[in-house]
């Protein structure tokens, strides 16, 4: 029957189209697998870096506050010694004056040393800024992967406006960002002495 043949032919055509569509979907899901996998790994890395920044900033701030507290206490002791020196000047007790001056000099020197230690601790800014740049670059990677995923479902040819904008932003940020992904304020994987001996052995 001619009607049956047409119906069969139409069903066959529909099945072929359906099969092609399913094949396309399978390919699309395969293309999604990598960006999803990479994004899934990068999110915890970025979170870890941000946690580390929080932890290390807090530790450095505490370290500096402790030192400032000690410096302030010493300043008060210095002022006390100055008062005693004034009193001794009136009484003419030279030995006591000399003792007070010695104490003042010692405390001033300790404060000077502590000021350098505060400056040492301020290096946390450089280390945490590298950690932030690392976290930012991981998030930019994730953004890029998400655009790739969107692109899979986007029927338009070429990059979407969003994707172009994201790529431009990533490229711009990548040019100015220079960081060590392993920068850490407290955890030194290598002993400085080992590095010194490596360079000493090399000759100067």
């Amino acid at each position: 029957m001619p009607g049956t043949n047409t119906l069969q032919s139409n069903i066959q055509k529909e099945i072929v189209e359906l099969s092609t569509a399913i094949g396309g979907l399978v390919n699309s899901f395969k293309r999604l697998q990598n960006p999803l996998e990479e994004s899934r790994n990068k999110v915890p890395q970025a979170t870890d870096q941000l946690d580390k920044i929080n932890e290390q900033t807090e530790a450095a701030a505490h370290q500096m506050l402790d030192m400032i507290e000690q410096i302030t206490a010493r300043e008060e002791e210095i002022l006390e010694q100055i008062d005693q020196t004034r009193a001794c000047l009136e009484s003419g007790d030279n030995d006591k004056i000399l003792s007070c001056l010695r104490i003042i000099a010692e405390k001033a020197q300790t404060n000077l040393n502590d000021s350098f230690l505060i400056m040492d601790a301020l290096q946390f800014q450089d280390i945490t800024s590298q950690q932030m740049n690392h976290a930012a670059s991981l998030l930019e990677d994730i953004e890029h992967k998400l655009h790739t995923i969107i692109g899979v479902f986007d029927s338009n040819d070429g990059d979407s406006e969003d994707e172009k904008e994201s790529n431009a932003r990533t490229a711009k940020a990548g040019k100015v960002r220079a960081f060590d992904p392993h920068a850490d304020l407290f955890e030194k994987k290598t002993n400085q002495n080992d590095i010194d001996s490596l360079f000493d052995n090399n000759g100067k």
């Binding site: 350098f116 400056m119 040492d120 301020l122 290096q123 946390f124 800014q125 450089d126 280390i127 800024s129 590298q130 040019k175 100015v176 960002r177 220079a178 960081f179 060590d180 392993h182 920068a183 850490d184 304020l185 030194k188 994987k189 290598t190 400085q192 590095i195 010194d196 490596l198 360079f199 090399n202 100067k204």
Partner: protein
């Protein structure tokens, strides 16, 4: 006349901290924010530079590139160069040594350690 040290780092905090420590000990300090800036400063300054302290990870031209460029200049072929970096991997140290660095300090560092390293060479 005081000796001149060029400090190269893209972190203004590190530049300020290192400069302060060195100036406090009587050194004359020049600063640069990356390798390219350092080369420009070295070319334009009338002072003789006695030592360079450089970071590794920097935009435009990194520390390795800077050291290699400095070593190509006969005038500075034996000038001490200290790397300051948070990079701790063995390959970074080897790469730094190969590029021509004289010494390598891991960040964060104590200002005492930096000064003793500088005094080793000057």
């Amino acid at each position: 006349m005081s000796q001149t040290i060029l400090v190269v780092d893209d972190s203004p905090t590190v530049v300020k901290f290192v400069s302060f420590s060195l100036k406090n000990r009587g050194f004359n300090v020049l600063t640069a924010c990356d390798g390219m800036d350092a080369i420009e400063k070295m070319s334009n300054t009338e002072d003789d530079i006695d030592l360079v302290i450089t970071d590794l990870n920097m935009p435009n031209l990194d520390g390795y590139g800077l050291i290699e460029t400095i070593r190509q200049n006969e005038k500075y072929s034996s000038m001490p160069i200290i790397i300051l970096s948070s990079e701790q991997a063995e390959e970074d140290r080897e790469k730094g040594k190969k590029a021509g660095a004289t010494s390598y300090l891991i960040k964060p560092f104590k200002s005492d350690k930096l000064l003793s390293e500088v005094k080793k060479f000057l």
